[in-house]
């Protein structure tokens, strides 16, 4: 929304503030100012001229020589580089001594009588950039051919001393009143403590106007239809067209321009119908299958939820949104039906959204325009029309009021406002601010009974907190004192607290203990990527409106993103060892309720830890070592690895495992399937994906039991056994554990050897037994007995002790 400072000053005498002061004052008390635009000319000494002759420059291909006059008699020879010039054009001419702007840098410079490539040039024809004005086309700025030669350009362009204040629309979402100059003037009058004088427009008495019938369920609040004769669709006078164009509204003709001017002034959208085309009006819901063509020729299939304004033969306008092609003001129009209506904000918003028609009117109505504004705005339009067309007559007036709005009452106390703000307040100051904003303040002592004006809409000022905001806005946030708050202590339930600790520790554990670099991959994946990983897209949640068309699916695994990272880096980095912590989304229901009533479910969104290793080795073994290291770092029990011969399709079926701690499955670890590796052009790569909640479940709920240092030394004994390849190391270890070997503290495989004297298909595994008694140093025979027991268990598995 753009505000004209000059226009605001018609309603309240805003003192002379610099751009920065003006912008700062409004930003800190009303809404953020995007910028202040100075309309004062940035040039001087530029006048209107006409091109009399154009010829080739004898010495330069890109230049032309002109003869231009600025008074009809003089013949100025001016060289020009623009391509769009032609004889007869009326253009801005900078005479020697004039100030214009450098086209590239915007810096001002002075025009001199000069010679360009050997040809004299007694001035310059100017482009919009060189004048600092909005450009309509490339090249030399074209003026109205009727402009008087020799006139100062600033006068011809109607440039005055105005400044425009630009506020982003979304900061005004809650303020219907600020969609017109009246509202901003009111704010400034409270802020600057200047008097506010808004026009006291009132509708004169008139005969009964055209019939207006309001159908059921339209939720229309008010409808004012004025039958006005004696108007003409002539071009607007410069003051009117310039004001609109400066504020970003295209000038159409005097009648339409007045409706837009009043909208910008009051915030109330108006619409003018040609009275010849409109004998009666029906405000109704669209009929099933009804369609409507807008003034610019777009045909809309209407919904039975849309409100239309219809004549005898069908819809003339989409209520509160856009008008039609046949009923609007045309060149022949001499009388109009002026509509000032108040449409329901929600209905208008839905209609505008449904048809993609966010017009100036719709944008205002959805903010809840004050219904009491309709007759005021209609009267104001009548005043402007009377000013433009002395013969204007109000030939008829129809008013339908269905939902009158009275000022709402908000009861509170000064103490309540002070408590909300944490700031001592003077009652007189509170009253001054609220009264200035249009409230009526009553009540004694601490009591505040506030009647809220209708121009703030039905929702913006309804609670004590809303009033507190109005007060602090104008008292100033910089007046808030230092108030130390006793912070409430928030205790999470133990699992949540441990989860938070784990999530805090995991990134450092992975980066420092594993030497892996954290990456954030795209949470959205493509159908092609899913298929490449043999994942069924139909089992995945999908975005209906993706930003990048391909990336429409929500990832169900971190493996896709991590593999792409490997692919991206494998040629440029010596080693690729990365991890990611992120949510994945599954096609099944999770536990979190999606609605406030707790009756529906969000998809399951487990937090995952993915680790990818592709540093030359990229083997399962390297990855397993990393996972064991990770568990140790996190002080988790040592993980177990169980061969998974039917893993997810992206993994190698002979080199994958389930990762468990105790009986809890943490996730899977394995090498990428050779076919996928070939597809991605990757070296051997291993990848693990673990569930963070499962890791959490394994983290000890209590601190481990700590034993004193042992009093007697352990004995370490290595046993090597040759076995068939098919026998897993884990089976050997488990057999020793199960064998009730006396004094056995721990058993661990330390080496696997193949080749040498071993026949093919055999391997030799070395197991290290740690033996210890709590009360004495083991004697040789005890050690031998233990080794014998372990050996027996291994032999049972078909092993041969070496």
């Amino acid at each position: 929304m753009l505000y004209s400072l000059a226009w605001l000053r018609q309603f309240t005498p805003v003192p002379d503030l610099s751009d920065r002061e003006l912008s700062d004052a409004i930003t800190t008390h009303v809404a953020e100012v995007e910028g202040v635009r100075d309309l004062r000319p940035k040039f001087s000494g530029v006048v209107v001229g006409r091109i009399l002759e154009v010829s080739r420059h004898p010495n330069a291909d890109k230049l032309q020589c002109t003869v231009t006059t600025t008074d009809g008699e003089n013949r100025l020879r001016i060289v020009c580089g623009a391509r769009n010039i032609a004889v007869g054009q009326v253009v801005p001419v900078a005479l020697p001594g004039a100030q214009v702007l450098d086209r590239k840098t915007g810096a001002p410079f002075t025009i001199r009588d000069s010679e360009i490539r050997g040809e004299p040039s007694q001035g310059m024809l100017c482009s919009a950039d060189e004048l600092g004005i909005p450009a309509r086309e490339d090249g030399i700025h074209q003026l109205d051919p009727s402009a008087t030669l020799g006139y100062p350009l600033e006068d011809v362009l109607g440039m005055g001393s105005d400044r425009l204040i630009d506020i982003e629309n979304k900061s005004l979402t809650h303020r219907p009143d600020l969609w017109g100059h009246w509202g901003m003037a009111r704010e400034l009058s409270v802020l600057l403590q200047t008097p506010l004088t808004l026009p006291k427009a009132a509708l004169p008495k008139a005969a009964t106007g055209i019939p207006v019938e309001v159908g059921p369920a339209t939720e229309l609040r008010r409808y004012v239809a004025l039958l006005i004769t004696g108007v003409e669709a002539t071009p607007s006078p410069p003051w009117l067209s310039q004001r609109l164009e400066q504020l970003g509204v295209r000038s159409v003709n005097a009648i339409v321009d007045v409706t837009n001017l009043v909208m910008l002034e009051t915030g109330q959208p108006l619409h003018a119908f040609d009275a010849e085309q409109v004998r009666e009006l029906h405000v109704r819901l669209a009929a099933p299958g009804e369609s409507f063509t807008t003034f610019d020729g777009t045909t809309l299939a209407l919904s039975p939820e849309d409100v239309v304004i219809a004549g005898a033969d069908g819809a003339l306008a989409l209520g509160g949104v856009v008008g039609g092609p046949h009923s609007g003001v045309r060149a022949s129009t001499t009388s109009i039906v002026l509509e000032a209506a108040s449409f329901d904000p929600v209905r208008t918003r839905r209609t505008a959204a449904r048809h993609g028609a966010r017009t100036d009117a719709a944008v205002r109505f959805e903010k809840d325009v004050d219904p009491t504004l309709a007759p005021l705005a209609a009267a104001r339009a009548l005043e402007y029309l009377t000013q433009l067309f002395p013969g204007v007559q109000l030939a008829g007036r129809t008013e339908v009021e269905l939902a009158p709005r009275a000022p709402q009452k908000v009861g509170t106390t000064l103490g309540a406002l002070q408590a909300i703000l944490g700031l001592p307040l003077e009652r007189s100051e509170v009253t001054r601010i609220l009264t200035g904003l249009g409230c009526t303040v009553r009540g004694r002592a601490d009591q505040l009974e506030v009647l809220v004006p209708t121009h703030r809409g039905g929702r913006d000022l309804t609670t004590p907190a809303d009033l507190a905001e109005e007060v602090i806005r104008f008292v100033g946030y910089d007046q808030l004192p230092t108030v130390t708050l006793a912070m409430p202590v928030t205790v999470l339930p133990p699992p949540e607290a441990r989860r938070a600790t784990l999530l805090r520790e995991l990134p450092q554990a992975c980066a420092l203990a594993l030497g892996a670099t954290e990456v954030l991959t795209d949470p959205f994946v493509s159908e092609a990527q899913l298929r490449r990983f043999s994942l069924d897209p139909s089992h995945h949640r999908r975005l209906v409106n993706p930003q990048v068309a391909d990336l429409a699916y929500l990832r169900s695994t971190l493996a896709i993103g991590l593999s792409l990272v490997a692919q991206e880096n494998v040629r440029t980095s010596e080693s690729v060892r990365v991890f990611e912590l992120g949510q994945v989304v599954q096609g099944i229901e999770g536990e979190l309720t999606a609605d406030l009533e707790g009756t529906s479910y969000l998809p399951a969104q487990p937090q995952r830890l993915g680790i990818l290793e592709s540093s030359g080795e990229g083997s399962f073994g390297t990855l397993r070592a990393l996972l064991e290291q990770l568990c140790a770092t996190l002080r988790l029990p040592a993980p177990r690895f169980e061969a998974e011969r039917a893993p997810a399709a992206h993994l190698h079926p002979g080199r994958s495992a389930r990762v468990l701690v105790g009986e809890t499955l943490l996730g899977t670890a394995g090498e990428l399937h050779p076919a996928l590796r070939l597809d991605l052009d990757l070296p051997r790569t291993a990848i693990a994906e673990l569930d963070v909640d499962a890791i959490l479940a394994c983290a000890l709920a209590e601190a481990p039991r700590i034993e004193p240092p042992p009093a007697f030394p352990p004995s370490l004994k290595d046993v090597s056994v040759a076995v068939d390849e098919a026998v897993e190391v884990a089976t050997l270890v488990a057999a020793v554990r199960a064998a009730e070997v006396p004094q056995l503290l721990a058993v661990e495989a330390t080496d696997v050897f193949r080749g040498g004297s071993l026949p093919p298909g055999q391997k030799s595994v070395t197991l290290r037994l740690t033996l210890r008694a709590p009360d004495h140093t083991l004697e040789e025979r005890e050690i031998l007995a233990a080794v014998k027991a372990a050996s027996k268990a291994l032999t049972k598995l078909g092993g041969e002790i070496r």
Binding site: R20, R350, I420, V483, L520, R541, L543, V578, D595
Partner: protein, 340 residues
């Protein structure tokens, strides 16, 4: 007698000329060895003496033994020290020689920033909680006082899912309501996490980024106490006083709704391109929690008040590392990431 005195003297003399630990060991065996040491032999001789002799000779023997043992210990210590000194020069290494290295990883700057901020808020009394990234309209909008017809829904471009009513959360604010419903009032939480906006990406916008949200609910929250907490936070984060101001800002879930701005660090507030010549840069949206949001969280708005705030991490990270394109925060090029 004489034997003992001469043994002591000769031993002490011999010790003077012992030049190595091996010679020392040999001499020690000769004098003190358990089987055939000279002193050991003298000690054995004591067995054949009468009581009087035994006592006086025993005393002399003990004194001599202690003297000899002390002399051996001193000589051993001197020889060891000499050995170490002699070895030092030969053990000198070239400190610039290549060495075996382990790999080291990097924690992502977004994670680091989150941790740093959560840690600061923890010192101020906030507890970190998290919430789901796929959210429902009910939590992302309705519970936050943004019903379906509300124009404020246009303020954030939303990714919708193929299941009606589900979306990618556009902010971390729904976790405010989830936290109130699970933890009750009073409470003080911060919520780090990823959020999604359906916007075209450019140097300053990405469709996924990280935010931190905060919520305090208690019986004596006020706008002034909110302001005071923010000042403490900013001092802790920036390590010094930094100009800040509140100004009005519209967010449906807070009332009064405010925006916190920081004095522009580039121009010290005098106005430059970075701050669009305003002298101030928007830092975060904040305000007192709207009573409808408290009610949606199951908190009695007559008894409790709350304040809430939320800001994106991208700009802080970009400022810290002087990054000029937000999209680089999601780069997965390890040559780039390894610099953090």
């Amino acid at each position: 007698m004489n034997d003992l005195a001469s043994l002591q003297r000769s031993t002490l003399d011999d010790l003077q000329v012992v030049a190595s630990l091996a010679e020392l060991d040999e001499l020690e065996t000769r004098v003190l060895g358990r089987k055939s040491g000279a002193l050991t032999a003298l000690m054995r001789g004591i067995g054949g003496m009468d009581a009087e002799q035994k006592r006086s000779f025993g005393q002399e023997l003990n004194v001599a033994k202690q003297t000899i043992e002390a002399a051996f210990a001193a000589r051993r210590s001197a020889l060891q020290r000499a050995g170490i000194d002699a070895a030092l020069s030969s053990e000198t290494v070239d400190v610039s020689e290549p060495v075996a290295r382990g790999t080291h990883g990097v924690v992502h700057p977004v994670t680091r920033a989150t941790q740093e901020l959560v840690d600061i808020f923890a010192r101020l009394g906030f507890t970190a909680v998290r919430g789901p990234e796929v959210e429902s309209e009910a939590y992302n909008f309705d519970a936050l006082n943004v019903p379906s017809w509300h124009p404020a829904r246009d303020m954030q471009d939303t990714f919708f899912l193929d299941v009606p009513g589900l979306l990618m959360r556009t902010h971390t604010s729904p976790v405010q309501v989830r936290a109130m419903r699970t933890l009750g009032a009073p409470l003080a939480v911060v919520v780090p996490g990823r959020v999604y906006r359906n916007e075209a990406t450019d140097a300053t916008h990405d469709y996924v980024f990280d935010q931190i949200e905060g919520l305090v609910v208690s019986e004596d929250v006020s706008l002034a106490s909110m302001d005071t907490v923010f000042r403490s936070f900013l001092r802790a984060y920036f390590g010094r006083e930094i100009p800040m101001r509140l100004r009005p800002g519209y967010f449906p879930f807070v009332e009064p709704g405010t925006e916190l701005e920081l004095g522009c660090q580039v121009c010290d507030g005098s106005g430059c391109r970075a701050c669009k010549h305003r002298g101030w840069i928007e830092f975060m949206g904040c305000g007192l929690v709207h009573r409808n949001v408290l009610a949606a969280g199951g908190v009695d708005p007559e008894r409790f008040r709350g304040f809430a705030f939320g800001f994106g991490l991208s700009r802080l990270i970009m400022q810290r590392y002087r990054i000029d394109d937000v999209r680089l925060l999601r780069s997965t090029d390890l040559r780039y990431l390894s610099q953090f």
